[in-house]
């Protein structure tokens, strides 16, 4: 369905429609998703020239005459980028084209140095794939991949003088061409049906799954906050699963998992409101606003888009040999889903524990901690317990706390050796977090005199004092109430500032009182 010209009144009416409540919306309508993910490849150089592919360099320093599109320049395909694209295609269970061409997508914009983007149009390098997406409760949703194709990124415009940083109201704009020509792979799904009320969660989980695959393949840093991974989210509603697809909207450049979830949720509610009011959803691109959790229409194009695609005459077709493709297939690393299944077996985590670990982004950290010698359950306990609490308090991800897996493994080692107990362990961690990750646990224990007291003479003195101070408790114990021993241990631990080896203290008390545990 294409957008028809509508009257101003009609537009106002459309914009004024109240969104439906989410639960009502998904009861009345069947949402269908379609997701386009762009990933910036972590190659050393750009897609079509030798300029370095770097983030956050001084503006307009990571450029050559080719990335500036100066007259006379020609593109040359970066073979590493082709390799990365094929690896992504293979990881997404795609077919790999035997031969594919680039095309020119033509439109005028200052961030586009040639006023066309060299992209793939009707001949993508990878096509017809799928990927299984695991939701938080363990449900698996299979998402079909239509295609994955290679293209180049554009430069970056900065609008100066306006209040919002957007072009509206700006007095002038500056362009940084460092990003111009950075290699991208765009992955396009087929329509994702039958997701119902889980649509927001599926969208976010799908992008997270891709992000994890990019990292496992080591083809990109895949940092959402840097825009390494960007998602365009298409949402449409239909009456039920048998009805034809409804008119979709495309919300551009949604850049965090939470934002994806919210954007889908908002669009479902908004479109349901429009449909309930008896109006048609307008096919358009929209923008998501983090502050409000809402989407708004993008710039209305006065003329229809016509990109005048045609095959890029400056490049010969990319024709990856079957031998090369098979070699890449055989050297694919273990992908995240397979790895999770393997680790559940090796570590003895329950499915529930593993999902928690993954949702907390702790899998790699625990893996590293285990690799450094810690027992898996101990590593899980520290990362998912004390450290997760610190991360939550500080509002950062676990891997941004500054605490390393090596430090945690060392800490667990000290506990295993009974040099410290859990309580001291928590103190030591506190010191490290406070110092933004500085310090070795053993050193901190030594410097602060935190080692467990296991010197019997010290402990015996403390036990004697506790026995002398608590005759009534002693009577109870002697009378058979062994569990009352705790009331004696408290004063001992207090006297030793918590550093006593609790097991040893208990043993000494029982010896002194002549009772058996």
């Amino acid at each position: 369905m294409s957008a028809q010209p509508v009257s101003a009144n009609k537009v106002r009416e459309y914009l004024d429609v109240q969104p439906l409540d989410f639960d009502d919306a998904v009861k009345t309508y069947d949402p269908v998703l379609g997701i386009e993910v762009h990933v910036e490849l972590g190659t050393a150089t750009k897609m079509f020239d030798g300029a370095p592919n770097v983030f956050a360099a001084e503006p307009n320093t990571a450029i050559t005459e080719v990335s500036l599109g100066l007259p006379g320049t020609l593109p040359v395909v970066n073979e590493k980028a082709v390799e990365y694209a094929i690896r992504i295609g293979l990881a997404l269970n795609c077919e790999i084209a035997e031969s594919c061409r680039f095309a020119r997508k033509q439109y005028f914009y200052p961030d586009l140095t040639k006023n066309f983007q060299t992209s793939q149009y009707d001949e993508p390098i990878a096509f017809d794939g799928w990927v299984d997406v695991e939701l938080e409760d363990g449900e698996i949703v299979r998402v079909e991949i239509e295609r994955a194709h290679m293209e180049e990124d554009a430069g970056k415009n900065t609008h100066i003088g306006g209040s919002t940083g957007r072009i509206q109201g700006a007095t002038h704009s500056q362009v940084d061409y460092n990003r111009a020509g950075v290699p991208l792979v765009e992955i396009v799904t087929r329509p994702i049906p039958n997701v119902g009320e889980r649509a927001p969660e599926v969208a976010a989980a799908y992008v997270r799954t891709l992000r994890d695959i990019f990292r496992a393949l080591d083809v990109s840093e895949a940092r959402m906050e840097r825009g390494n991974v960007r998602a365009d989210i298409n949402v449409s509603l239909r009456a039920d699963a048998d009805a034809p697809l409804g008119t979709r909207t495309e919300t551009k450049n949604v850049n965090s998992f939470r934002a994806i979830d919210r954007a889908v949720r908002f669009e479902i509610c908004r479109q349901a409101g429009v449909l309930d009011a008896g109006m048609d959803v307008v096919q358009e691109t929209r923008h998501f606003h983090d502050e409000t959790g809402e989407t708004s229409p993008g710039r209305v194009k006065t003329d229809a888009e016509d990109y005048r695609y045609f095959p890029e005459p400056d490049l010969v077709p990319v024709a990856p040999s079957r031998d090369w493709v098979e070699q890449l297939r055989s050297t694919l690393p273990e992908l995240p889903a397979a790895r999770r299944r393997r680790l559940i077996g090796e570590w003895g985590f329950s499915d529930f524990e593993m999902r928690d670990v993954i949702n907390a982004g702790a899998l790699d950290l625990i893996q590293e901690t285990v690799d450094a010698g810690a027992k898996p359950q101990a590593a899980r306990k520290w990362w998912m317990g004390e450290l997760a609490r610190y991360a939550k308090d500080k509002g950062v991800e676990l891997d941004e706390l500054g605490v390393s897996s090596a430090q945690v493994a060392e800490l667990i080692g000290l506990i295993d050796e009974k040099k410290i107990n859990d309580k001291i362990g928590r103190q030591v961690l506190g010191v490290i977090v406070e110092a933004d990750g500085d310090g070795s646990p053993a050193q901190i224990v030594e410097d602060k005199g935190l080692a467990v007291v296991s010197d019997d003479s010290v402990l015996t003195d403390a036990v004697d004092a506790a026995i002398a101070d608590n005759p009534d408790v002693v009577e109870k114990i002697k009378g058979g109430k062994v569990q009352a021993i705790g009331a004696l241990m408290g004063p001992v631990m207090k006297a030793t500032r918590g550093q006593a080896d609790a097991g040893r203290v208990r043993q000494i008390i029982m010896e002194k009182l002549g009772v058996a545990g």
Binding site: E65, L68, G69, L70, P71, G72, T73, L74, P75, V76, V77, R104, Q106, F108, Y109, P110, T113, K114, N115, F116, S173, V175, D306, R308, Y309, F310, P313, D314, L315, V316
Partner: protein
């Protein structure tokens, strides 16, 4: 005029090697000639006298020091202003690039510098190589040394006029639909369009990427072979560059042997569109080759009939895209409109003012041909014709070693005659376009004087990578014709006395 500048480049190279004169003397002689006659010809947009002299001095020093030098070291060359030159204004004949100084060299310019050919300057051309008469340049028209009221051909009229007018022994041209061969034909010089992909396009301001190819403009076939050797070869910066080896061009040019060579005459290019004397000179050339032992065969290339139409869809389509980058944002001209100068309006104003009429015409044609709903009918169909033309060539080369036709339908026409009538102008390229569509090499050399006592050209075409066959047949025919004429055809050209106009 000194005798020095009338030598062939091969003779100049031999004289330099023998110490008969210095590279500096040779370069100065050409710079003096430019000084004397270029106000008449306007073959050059930019003359780089200091750079040329510096290169010549370096060659002389190196030779004095006994260093090994490339065969053409010290022999001056002129470069069409479509090839970018670091530190030297490069305009492509357009207002759009007036004053633009590129930060890099085209690969072929790098080759010229490495072989130490003093570069005399940048030659005039139709704007962005769009034209057959060098009348669409923003830097004035170039005149034909044979008759200053006639066109020098185009788009590379500057390079051919410079060579014909003895301002340079060697020049670089580019040929998208005949822009090397047609100017050669109407100026009595030699021009070669090499196999597509054999000379790097890196640094050549693109008109139509799948058709453009740079090549030599010279006075003799041997000189063309020598220059081709300098500029050709694989370039990793050009994805369409060919890795395969080539034959020995210079040896082929010197062999003067056509015994057993099968020369195919393209029936479709024998019709009445070609002027009678142009055709007569062509037939006489074939007769000479036949006497020398070549076999003349008639071949049919039925799809050549559609080549011109296909070309005028493919070329403007690619050009409309290649010229999109000229928007006033990053380099060259920027026109800022009075009110509300948004980026979009600056782009529109810049392109409106910076491009000439012929360039705009082709951008409009190409934009239309690529637009949604028309692509299949226009660009798509044209690509199919291209495949058919390639099949015609393949079938013909089953029977013959080279193909032949007159290069252009007429001798040089008067300035102003066709510039306002694009259709008649486009017909100039009817014989040269098929080679570009198929990517095969072609050469034009003088066949004799035709209408109005002006030179006509004969064109030979060879299969892809068969450039050496052109040098073989061209070198042999040149020798036969010069024997008949009693010397080079340019000896019959009127002397340019300088300041005549």
């Amino acid at each position: 005029m000194t005798d020095l500048i009338r030598k062939s480049a091969a003779e100049m190279a031999a004289g330099l090697a023998a110490g008969e004169f210095s590279a500096r003397e040779l370069t100065d002689a050409h710079l003096e000639r430019i000084e004397a006659v270029d106000s008449d010809l306007n073959a050059f947009i930019t003359v780089t006298a200091d750079d040329a002299r510096a290169t010549a001095d370096a060659v002389d020093s190196a030779r004095a020091a006994g260093k090994q030098l490339a065969p053409l070291a010290g022999v001056p060359v002129a470069v069409k202003d479509i090839a970018v030159t670091r530190g030297v204004q490069t305009t492509a004949g357009s207002t759009m690039l007036e004053g633009w100084v590129p930060p890099y060299d085209a690969t072929l310019v790098t080759h010229l510098k490495q072989a130490r050919l003093p570069i005399l300057g940048k030659t005039n051309m139709d704007e962005f190589a769009m034209g057959s008469s060098t009348e669409t340049s923003a830097y004035g028209i170039t005149r034909n040394p044979w008759n200053l009221d006639r066109i020098p051909g185009g788009s590379g009229g500057g390079s051919s006029a410079a060579v014909a007018g003895f301002e340079a022994p060697l020049a670089i041209g580019t040929d998208t639909g005949g822009s090397i061969r047609q100017p050669a034909s109407v100026t009595g010089t030699v021009g070669v369009k090499p196999t597509y992909g054999s000379v790097s396009r890196y640094g050549l301001i693109a008109m139509a990427s799948s058709l453009d190819q740079a090549g030599p403009c010279t006075r003799t076939v041997e000189d063309a072979a020598l220059l081709h050797d300098v500029i050709g070869g694989y370039d990793p910066k050009d994805s369409t560059s060919i890795r395969d080896g080539f034959g020995d061009f210079v040896a082929a040019a010197r062999s003067k042997d056509v015994k057993g060579l099968r020369v195919g005459v393209i029936e479709q290019l024998e019709h009445d569109d070609f002027d009678p004397l142009v055709r007569a000179r062509f037939e006489e050339s074939l007769a000479l080759l036949e006497e020398a032992g070549a076999e003349i065969v008639r071949v049919s290339c039925p799809n050549f009939e559609y080549a011109l139409g296909a070309y005028y869809l493919i070329m403007p389509s690619e050009a409309s895209s290649n010229l999109a980058k000229f928007d006033g944002m990053r380099f060259g001209l920027r026109v800022i409109p009075e009110d509300n100068p948004t980026a979009e309006r600056v782009m529109a104003a810049t392109r409106g003012e910076g491009f000439g009429a012929e360039v705009k015409r082709r951008i409009l044609l190409g934009t239309y041909a690529l637009s949604s709903g028309y692509y299949d009918a226009y660009y798509g169909s044209a690509q199919k014709v291209r495949t058919l033309v390639q099949r015609d060539f393949a079938a013909a080369y089953e029977k013959v070693d080279v193909l032949a036709s007159p290069t252009a339908p007429t001798v040089a026409f008067p300035l102003g005659q066709k510039v306002d009538n694009p259709m008649t102008m486009y017909l100039n390229d009817i014989a040269t376009i098929p080679a570009n569509l198929a990517g095969v090499p072609g050469m034009s050399l003088p066949s004799g004087l035709a209408e109005d006592g002006l030179p006509a050209g004969i064109q030979f075409l060879a299969p892809a990578l068969g450039d050496d066959r052109l040098y073989r047949v061209g070198g042999a025919l040149e020798a036969l014709l010069e024997h008949k004429w009693g010397g080079p055809i340019l000896a019959q050209a009127p002397a340019l006395e300088g300041g005549a106009r």
